[in-house]
Structure formats: structure tokens, C-alpha cells
């Protein structure tokens, strides 16, 4: 019997709903010895900025109970070197490629980046990373004077709307907006992104955290605060997917501490149309592939023909 794992994200038809989370998969080449990359639902690249970024000083990571703190600071070679040096390998994988982008300064950078990527046919979609907690707080250009604020774009509904709208104007490609959990009401931001024309939402980015070396009374991360990922944040992520699912119509890509099939299923049932594996890639580089076959087995065992029947099927 045919079991379908196919899902649609915007214009993008995925063979299966298992992707990787930006920043946890490099540019895919790091994983070529471990998995057959073309089997992935989609590959999301590490975030690219207009200019190369050195990233933050070390120490950049630290292990916490069932979690990982990181403050890499969007180290990346910049868009031009990405296209020259990293994209050729990504194209060869055969999996749909989603390029994650971020701005260091203003909305214009998103526009420039989205325009540049729009022309490249092998790129399936663009993810707007408006929620990285580890770069110097982006100066939000809300167009009205007197409303300039410091903070993440994804912490402000108006700024989110403006960035998504600006990117929407310059690209026909599927747009995914990545949201931050470091907000009071994530549904407000999700709705703003939907209103501005994003095709899908990716959630959640890391939760802001901090860890202290008590012997030296020093922060364990050079930048002091950092983003928390891993199984420790999963319940928060599932809750946010559920909240957003109830409020928006567009597909949700759920992520946050997915380690195996069971944890992936939580996200589908809570309302995610697809999921992304993040930190687990660091621990078991085969996690994605194991989840794809695990989902098939789960559907077969429960006599469900199509994964879409599972999405948002939470019984309350």
C-alpha cells in the first residue's frame, strides 16, 4: 500500500516532511559520509549574510542539561562566496535547497539577498532568519520616525511585517519566515508574517539562555548570553507550534529538540506540516534518515495513508 509523506510548503513539493534546521547542517557536505543527502525532504543552509561574517569569539558552545547553548554569531562566507563555493555541492545533492538569509543592518540587505537568490533556479525557497539571538541586536528600521528600536526583528510584529513584505516584493520563490520563541505572544508575530505574504513559518529558533562557570565566576560563552537548543526546549517548541497552528492558515515547519520519530510526531500532531532536525544532527548525524523511515512505519502501523491526516490531529 502506498503511504504518502509528501507535503507542500508554498510552491515547494517535498517528497517527505523532514528537513534540517539552519545552522546545524553546515552546507550539507559535512554530512555526506553519513547519509544519502537526496533522501532529505529539504536542506536548509547555514544563514548567509550579504558580507562575510567572522562570527563570535570562542567559547561559542556549551553543553547544558539535555541542551546545547550556542553563540556562533552567523559565521558565514557571505552571499557571493556561498554561491561560488558552497552552492555547487548543494545542487549536486538532489534535495530541495532552502537558503537561510539574515541582515546585519537593515531591511535593504534582505531585499538585496532575496533578489540575488531569486535568479537562481536550483534554490527552492528562501528562509528569512529574523530571529538569530546571537548577533548584535539588529537596528530595526521601522519606517516611521521615532519608532526605531533595538531587538530582534522577530520580536516586533511591525518590523516582521515590513521585512517579509519587502522580501515578498522581490521574489516569487517560496518564502519561509523563522520565528523566535523569545517573545510574549508568538501568534502575533506569526500573523504579521502571514499578512505580509510569507508562505510558511519555521519555529522555533533558539531560546535565549546563559550558563556560568562557578569556579571562575565567568560566563561559559564568550558573548555571555546564547541560544539554547536540544531536547530541553522541545515542550516550549511544541506548545508554540500548537498556538500558531490555531491562528494561521499557512504551513508550519516545526523544530526544537527533535531527536527521533516520537519527538517528530509530537510536532505533526500539534500542527506542523513539516519538521526540521537541528541539534540532533550533531549527536547522531543519521537522525533525519531514521525519522523518515520511522514516520513511514508509524503511519503503516496506524493505518494512516497520508501524513497530512496527522497534521494538527491533536485530540482535546
Amino acid at each position: 500500500m502506498g503511504i504518502s509523506l509528501k507535503v507542500k510548503i508554498g510552491k515547494l513539493q517535498l517528497n517527505n516532511p523532514v528537513m534540517v534546521a539552519s545552522g546545524t547542517f553546515g552546507y550539507a557536505e559535512e554530512f555526506k559520509d553519513f547519509i544519502d543527502l537526496k533522501k532529505l525532504g529539504a536542506i536548509v543552509t547555514k544563514t548567509i549574510t550579504l558580507k562575510p561574517r567572522m562570527g563570535n569569539p570562542p567559547p561559542r558552545t556549551c553543553e547544558t542539561p539535555a541542551g546545547l547553548l550556542n553563540s556562533i554569531g552567523l559565521e558565514n562566507p557571505g552571499i557571493e562566496r556561498f554561491l561560488q563555493e558552497k552552492l555547487p555541492f548543494l545542487k549536486k545533492t538532489g534535495a530541495p535547497i532552502i537558503v537561510s538569509i539574515a541582515s546585519e543592518r537593515d531591511t535593504d540587505e534582505f531585499i538585496t539577498l532575496a533578489r540575488r537568490l531569486d535568479k537562481i533556479k536550483e534554490i527552492s525557497a528562501i528562509e528569512l532568519n529574523i530571529s538569530c539571538p546571537n548577533i548584535k541586536r539588529v537596528h530595526q528600521v521601522t519606517r516611521s520616525p521615532g519608532h526605531q528600536k533595538y531587538g530582534l526583528i522577530a520580536q516586533d510584529a511591525k518590523a516582521t511585517f515590513e521585512v517579509v513584505k519587502a522580501a515578498r516584493k522581490v521574489t516569487q520563490k517560496t518564502l519561509i519566515t523563522k520565528l523566535s520563541p523569545n517573545v510574549t505572544d508568538i501568534t502575533e508575530i506569526a500573523q504579521a508574517a502571514q499578512d505580509a505574504g510569507t508562505n510558511a513559518l519555521a519555529l522555533i529558533n533558539t531560546l535565549m539562555g546563559m550558563s556560568v562557570d562557578v569556579r571562575g565566576r565567568k560566563p561559559k560563552i564568550a558573548m555571555v548570553t546564547a541560544g539554547l537548543s536540544g531536547p530541553a526546549i522541545r515542550p516550549v517548541a511544541v506548545r508554540m507550534v500548537w498556538e500558531v497552528y490555531k491562528k494561521v492558515k499557512i504551513p508550519i515547519i516545526g523544530m526544537g529538540g527533535i531527536m527521533d520519530t516520537q519527538s517528530a510526531l509530537e510536532f505533526f500532531i500539534a500542527g506542523a506540516s513539516a519538521i526540521a532536525v537541528g541539534t540532533a544532527n550533531f549527536i547522531n548525524p543519521r537522525t533525519t534518515i531514521e525519522i523518515i523511515s520511522g514516520l513511514e512505519k508509524y503511519l503503516a502501523r496506524n493505518k494512516i495513508k497520508d501524513i497530512k491526516e496527522l497534521i494538527g490531529s491533536l485530540k482535546i
Binding site: 545552522g23 546545524t24 547542517f25 553546515g26 559535512e30 554530512f31 559520509d33 553519513f34 547555514k46 567572522m54 562570527g55 570562542p58 567559547p59 561559542r60 558552545t61 556549551c62 553543553e63 542539561p65 539535555a66 541542551g67 546545547l68 550556542n70 556562533i72 559565521e75 536540544g230 531536547p231 531527536m259 541539534t279 544532527n281 550533531f282 549527536i283 547522531n284 548525524p285 543519521r286
Partner: protein, 301 residues
């Protein structure tokens, strides 16, 4: 000399691998032997493996351990030499949550092992002579990979050759000295430094290096070192002062070990057009471009 990616074409494997033995060698120091034929067949000195010490999520991350040796004398039954080549040996100190759990794993159990990882030492194939005497400098647990290196440097060379590798081992106290006998069996001359003076030279092994260098009639041709960052920084300074090429194997906390997370970076002096100032640098991953770096490439904090 650019040693980047020299062995990056080696296939990395990820397998459940059987623990052959896991025993305390002294105090808090353990030796674990794991059956891993692919890794054993291709690993180079300086490379490491990344081990999941538990089956659950505590601790969450793998633990990187440098490869100490391939195969093992004690587990090699007579006439089964080829079998011994299928094992990798690692040394570790049970100091944290991860290594403590590892120390409790029993022979016959399986551990998830990824390897071989990173770029190892660039090995100078010259014959050992009186004039060519590499120096190996080991600090603490940094001793482990240097035994594998000494074996390779020794390979194919006559035991009777006049040159001897000099190994300087640094340890906190005499109880912490590792692998002294193993180096001696390989025909190395071994000198010891302890922080408290309980054996050998009293002080840091880098100070012992300075003393030894002043006693050399001709310049040693190469330095290989592994140990804590402060030691390597000193070795780097000394080697450059004496114009001796030095390769340093760095230790670092890692999240992934395979070059994906960008977590374990160090500063490397920028090359070519990027080099606008003396302190211009690029970040390099200890797990991928390293763990072995040329001493003069590193920009120390």
C-alpha cells in the same frame, strides 16, 4: 607549509562499536579499547574519534577522544596479529559527567563511535639521525596521541639508528605521568617534568623544553606537541624563537566534531590578501582544519 585538508578524503564512519576492554590504568586514568576496523585501518596520528558515552540524552553531546594507538599488545593473542589491527585504543581521565559514564561502560557493550576525525600530524619521513631528532612534548592527557605518533615516526626505521626521538612528558605530579614505558619501548629518550617536582624536572614541561634546547648541539628539526592551551602557547613561542617547525594538537570542547556547528574555533593568522594587519585572523575549526595546526599559524589570545 599548508597542512589543511591533507587527509580529508579519508572516509568517516559512524558505527556501533564493541568495547573490548575498559580499565583503569592509574588513579583516574582509563584505557578503552574498541573494535573499529575501518577507523583502525585508516586513522592517522593526531586524529580523534567522537563517542556517544550513553544511550540517552544525558550527556547530550559526544565526547571527542584522540586515538592513542591502533591494536593492542595485551589483547593480541599469539598468531592473531591481524585481529589486533582492528581495534582502536583511547586514553581518558574521568573528570566530568561524560568521562565518568564512559569509565563505567563494560566490555561487550556497544558504543556509537564516529571517526576518524580531523587532520592529524604531518609526518616527517626522514630517517632518525644524530642531526635529525624530533622532540615530542606531551602535557597531561595530551600524551595519548603522541604514542601513536611516535610509533609512526619510528615505523620502518632501524632500532639501532643513532638518532633517538626525545619525549618530554609534563604532569601535575609523579602519579599523573602517562605512557613513560610505552615511549621507552619505542626507543625514545624520555624526560619528565612535574609541576610539584615529585619526579624529574620541577616546573612546566615548556621550561624543560627550553633547558633541553640549550643542550642540543644542533637544532632539532621538528617539534610535535599536544596538551593544554597554555602549554601549546608556550611551545609555539619557544619553537618560533628557535626557528623550529612545530605542529600542535589542540584540545577543545566540541558540539559536533564533524565541522558542522562552527563551535570549536581558534584564531588562525590570515593569509594572503586577507592579511591586512599582523593581528588579522580567520577562525578555523579545531575539529576539521585541526586538531593539528602549525605553531606559527595560530594567533594566541
Amino acid at each position: 607549509m599548508n597542512i589543511k585538508y591533507q587527509i580529508s578524503n579519508i572516509k568517516i564512519t559512524n558505527q556501533k562499536s564493541k568495547v573490548i576492554s575498559n580499565k583503569k590504568i592509574k588513579d583516574n586514568y582509563f584505557e578503552i579499547i574498541i573494535a573499529a576496523p575501518e577507523i583502525a585501518g585508516s586513522a592517522q596520528p593526531g586524529q580523534f574519534v567522537n563517542i556517544k558515552v550513553s544511550d540517552g540524552i544525558e550527556p547530550l553531546l559526544r565526547r571527542p577522544l584522540s586515538i592513542h594507538k591502533i591494536g593492542h599488545q595485551a589483547t593480541r593473542p599469539p598468531g592473531h596479529q591481524s585481529k589486533a589491527k582492528r581495534q582502536i585504543v583511547m586514553l581518558y581521565e574521568a573528570v566530568g559527567k561524560g568521562t565518568e559514564i564512559l569509565s563505567q561502560r563494560k566490555p561487550g557493550e556497544f558504543l556509537d563511535v564516529i571517526g576518524p576525525l580531523g587532520n592529524g600530524f604531518n609526518i616527517d619521513r626522514r630517517p632518525l639521525t644524530i642531526d635529525y631528532r624530533p622532540i615530542l612534548i606531551a602535557g597531561g592527557m595530551g600524551t595519548a596521541p603522541l604514542v601513536f605518533l611516535a610509533e609512526k615516526l619510528r615505523e620502518g626505521k632501524s632500532q639501532k639508528s643513532k638518532g633517538k626521538m626525545l619525549v618530554l612528558i609534563g604532569a601535575r605530579t609523579k602519579k599523573d605521568i602517562l605512557c613513560e614505558e610505552e615511549f621507552k619501548k619505542l626507543g625514545c629518550e624520555v624526560k619528565i617534568a612535574t609541576d610539584d617536582g615529585s619526579r624529574g624536572f620541577k616546573g612546566y614541561v615548556s621550561d624543560l623544553l627550553i633547558r633541553e634546547l640549550s643542550a642540543f648541539s644542533s637544532q632539532p628539526s621538528a617539534i610535535y606537541a599536544c596538551g593544554p592551551k597554555l602549554l601549546l602557547k608556550e611551545v609555539s613561542r619557544i619553537s618560533q624563537e628557535h626557528h623550529i617547525p612545530a605542529q600542535l594538537s589542540l584540545e577543545s570542547h566540541m558540539a559536533c566534531g564533524i565541522g558542522a556547528c562552527m563551535g570549536c574555533v581558534i584564531k588562525q593568522k590570515a593569509e594572503g590578501r586577507k592579511r591586512k594587519a599582523d593581528d588579522a585572523f580567520e577562525y578555523q575549526r579545531v575539529c576539521k582544519e585541526g586538531p593539528v595546526f602549525e605553531a606559527n599559524q595560530i594567533l594566541w589570545e
